[in-house]
């Protein structure tokens, strides 16, 4: 049966209904032979292939123009003078993750040496330091209130540490274990309040947790391999988040239902970083395939690729400037490339780190961005 999409859907729906009721009887459209379990499996496989093709066709129909063509009339960007304005030194090993506080001056960073440090980026002073019971603290996040930080890594957990005003107090004593995964924690983020945390893990899942009770509120299954990164939608756009993984897929999730609502698979290798465009209508990704890409959620497709033949090392971390016009990418070749999001061209390349750039975030008010590196330092650029 070739038929229209509707016909295929109907026939297929019929076979699902029948197999789930264990009645292997014949559907009107099929030939007069009994449907065996393995035949149903191969039918399903054929249907899934048809559906995938149909999905590609539907997406392609709306691909009437490229983003950079639409942006041809926009003024090009001038020369950028961005320099390292602060260098934060203190970690004893590779910096793996960092996050800004909403106050636009404090930063939390975590390292392979097991330390989590809270910095005042204006003065470069260290305000707090916590030693985790594990090495490779791959994830850290600042609470929206600024009163706590969350972190985790090879311990498979995400723990929350309330920040005390008393410098002498041992932060580790007040630690609260919130999330438990069955493999390493790759990323974590508070939702709009200090009460809930979203995590992603090497176990292939993401999960939403209640901080106070440690209860699992929702889990998100769909990645076929380690999930490496996540980002929450800007609050105005509602309850969704995106994740990227070693299965080369970027998924969009509904936080309430746990359902994956959109999925994109155009990268050729692990997706190390995903970040929403400021309006929430699109997101960027950085991958080991040495490209960054832009996906529009309403067009449901990739709309731009940021790449150059000379860039052959993976992009580990990406973030947008406030207006979404610039995309900053930290790469494994120690550089930071700055892309014109609309035109698809590179506008600047920043040198300074002496090893891989592993983390990169723009400050909450967009006045600066911070990069963390395997060279043990963090740099604030403006």
């Amino acid at each position: 049966f070739s038929g229209s999409f509707g016909e295929v859907y109907q026939t297929f729906h019929l076979s699902i209904y029948m197999s789930s009721n264990n009645k292997f009887s014949i559907s009107p459209e099929m030939a007069t032979q009994e449907v065996q379990p393995n035949e149903t499996l191969s039918n399903l496989k054929a249907e899934s292939d048809t559906l995938k093709t149909k999905l590609e066709d539907e997406r392609a129909k709306l691909h009437d123009v490229e983003l950079h063509q639409v942006a041809e009339k926009v003024d090009g960007l001038g020369q950028f003078i961005m320099k390292t304005r602060r260098t934060l030194k203190g970690h004893g090993n590779k910096v793996l993750c960092m996050d800004w506080c909403k106050d636009k001056r404090r930063i939390v960073s975590s390292s392979q040496d097991g330390k989590v440090i809270v910095w005042d980026a204006f003065t470069t002073n260290k305000e707090h330091a916590v030693t985790m019971p594990c090495t490779w603290v791959m994830a850290c996040a600042y609470a929206p209130s600024g009163c706590a930080v969350a972190c985790g890594g090879l311990d498979n957990k995400c723990s929350v540490y309330p920040l005390s005003l008393d410098k002498n107090e041992n932060l580790a004593a007040k630690k609260k274990s919130v999330a438990m995964h069955t493999n390493y924690l790759s990323a974590c983020s508070f939702t709009n309040s200090d009460m809930q945390i979203l995590t992603s893990s090497g176990d292939g899942t993401c999960a939403l947790w209640d901080v106070e009770s440690g209860q699992l509120l929702q889990s998100f299954h769909g990645h076929a391999a380690d999930v490496l990164c996540l980002d929450l939608a800007p609050s105005e756009t509602g309850n969704t988040f995106i994740s990227g993984g070693c299965d080369k897929k970027a998924n969009v999730w509904d936080m309430r239902s746990g359902q994956c609502i959109q999925s994109f698979e155009t990268h050729e290798s692990d997706i190390n970083s995903v970040r929403y465009y400021p309006s929430g209508d699109a997101f960027a990704s950085g991958s080991d395939d040495a490209t960054c890409r832009l996906y529009d959620l309403r067009a449901d497709r990739e709309v731009a690729i940021y790449s150059k033949e000379s860039i052959i090392f993976g992009a580990s971390s990406v973030d947008f400037s406030l207006s979404g016009r610039l995309l900053f990418g930290g790469y494994n070749d120690y550089t930071i490339n700055v892309w014109d999001v609309l035109k698809g061209t590179r506008v600047s390349i920043l040198f300074g780190h002496e090893n891989r750039v592993s983390a990169l975030r723009v400050s909450p008010d967009g006045t600066a961005f911070c990069s963390g590196s395997w060279d043990h330092t963090l740099r604030v650029w403006a």
């Binding site: 249907e47 539907e58 961005m82 959109q262 699109a282 067009a299 610039l326």
Partner: protein, 89 residues
């Protein structure tokens, strides 16, 4: 049994694909125009894009605190010494 779990996995995959296929989509031209519009509307507020008046980017201005890098350090030290000299007059 493996065949049953394969079956249910396949079923789940097909259900997922059907869900994704049913998503409402708009044309790339419209999506691109709206991305562009957002960029242009917010460009003036984007400090990393257009820069801000001197003095209002806290990272571009040195602060009168400890731990600074390079030339700024020397300039502040010189200024402090000068002020110190004046006070002694």
């Amino acid at each position: 049994m493996t065949s049953n779990s394969n079956l249910s996995n396949m079923r789940r995959l097909v259900d997922q694909l059907k869900l994704e296929a049913s998503v409402e989509r708009i044309k790339v031209s419209q999506a691109a125009a709206e991305l562009q519009q957002y960029c242009l509307q917010n460009a003036a507020k984007d400090a990393l894009l257009v820069g801000v008046p001197t003095g209002s980017n806290p990272f571009r201005e040195p602060r009168s605190c400890n731990l600074f890098q390079g030339q700024q350090n020397i300039r502040i030290m010189q200024r402090k010494t000068y002020i110190g000299t004046q006070k002694n007059d």
